[in-house]
């Protein structure tokens, strides 16, 4: 009985048009990257709230670098499959992969926080330019789509600002919460990009 209903449901879903005119066949990368960053940002907030309980499982400590590496691999696939903005996507992929590598090195105790931040801060600033002003492909204020892209870039710069404050004032819980919330905001801003267009 249940199998028949599930089958009917799948059949009905299959009858829906696969491309509904919003993406024009392009990869819908923004929403998946957005959901991913929102998920990881939320878990970073949970990590701060849970304190030592979070570290009971080793894999949880490696979640942030692992997520960055996965995002980098995803961006590599996007830059390979998608026909436009290849250099921009490739740049983002390299930044994400190198960022994941340095964060993993820090969490494994092989490099200091300062060394990891020495890469993360410039990477966030460059990444903000790439996904913000450069990815809008035109006048920054021309459309809602351009503005939402700019918002993603601004959020990346804000994250760089939090990292700079961490270097300047030392690690505090307020800055750690700010960074985790900022990663959630990065995810939400990418979801907003998808809301205002559907392409890539």
């Amino acid at each position: 009985m249940l199998a028949i209903e599930v089958g009917d449901l799948l059949e009905a879903a299959g009858r829906l048009p696969m491309h509904g005119g919003t993406t024009g066949g392009a990869l819908p990368g923004h929403p998946f990257f957005g959901a991913g960053f929102l998920f990881v940002g939320s878990l970073m907030v949970v990590e701060l709230l849970a304190g030592g309980v979070w570290s009971r499982a080793y894999w949880r400590r490696m979640l942030w670098p692992g997520a960055l590496l996965m995002a980098g691999v995803g961006m590599l696939i996007v830059s390979y499959v998608q026909t436009d903005s290849k250099s921009l996507h490739l740049t983002l992929a390299m930044l994400l992969l190198l960022g994941g590598y340095t964060e993993a090195q820090y969490r494994l105790g092989k490099i200091s926080r300062a060394s990891a931040d020495a890469f993360a801060i410039p990477a966030l600033i460059v990444g903000g330019f790439v996904i913000g002003p450069m990815h809008t492909n035109g006048n920054l204020m021309a459309s809602t789509l351009a503005l939402t892209h700019l918002l993603v870039g601004v959020v990346a710069w804000m994250l760089a600002g939090v990292k700079i404050m961490r270097v300047r004032f030392g690690p505090t819980l307020a800055l750690e919460y700010s960074f985790a919330s900022g990663v959630m905001m990065l995810g939400l801003s990418l979801l907003l990009v998808q809301q205002f267009h559907g392409a890539h």
Binding site: A13, G14, L16, P17, M18, H19, G20, G21, T22, T23, P28, P31, F32, G34, A35, L38, F39, S42, L43, V45, V46, L48, L49, A50, G51, G52, V53, W54, S55, R56, R113, G170, P171, T172, L173, A174, E176, L191, L192, Q194, Q195, G198
Partner: protein, 102 residues
């Protein structure tokens, strides 16, 4: 922050995201794009931002509720972070101690 409040915040994070997603979806289909409700596509269902937000909240709830239970039953020592993060209050306390020592 006491452990009950921490556990509550951890446990409510996923449902809060889901609530935001429902509000987003209702706004989209009920207010801003009412005419498109009859032309839903599989692509929209899978890649719609509100739907992905809902899915994120659901997965987050599944992961976080057990963690919230662990936090609720943990001791204060277990809740202290093992890393070198110090709270603002601790920093302020150290500053006061240093000034008092002068």
């Amino acid at each position: 922050m006491n452990r009950q409040l921490r556990a509550l915040l951890i446990g409510m994070l996923g449902p809060a995201l889901q609530a935001a997603a429902v509000a987003w979806d209702l706004l989209e289909h009920g207010v801003f794009a009412r005419g498109e409700i009859g032309n839903l596509t599989l692509e929209h269902i899978v890649t719609g931002p509100a739907h992905l937000l809902m899915a994120t909240g659901l997965v987050l709830s599944a992961i976080c509720i057990p963690i919230a239970l662990q936090v609720a039953t943990a001791s204060s020592e277990e809740l202290a972070r093992p890393e070198d993060i110090v709270s603002d209050a601790e920093l302020a306390g150290e500053l006061r101690a240093a000034e008092a020592a002068k």
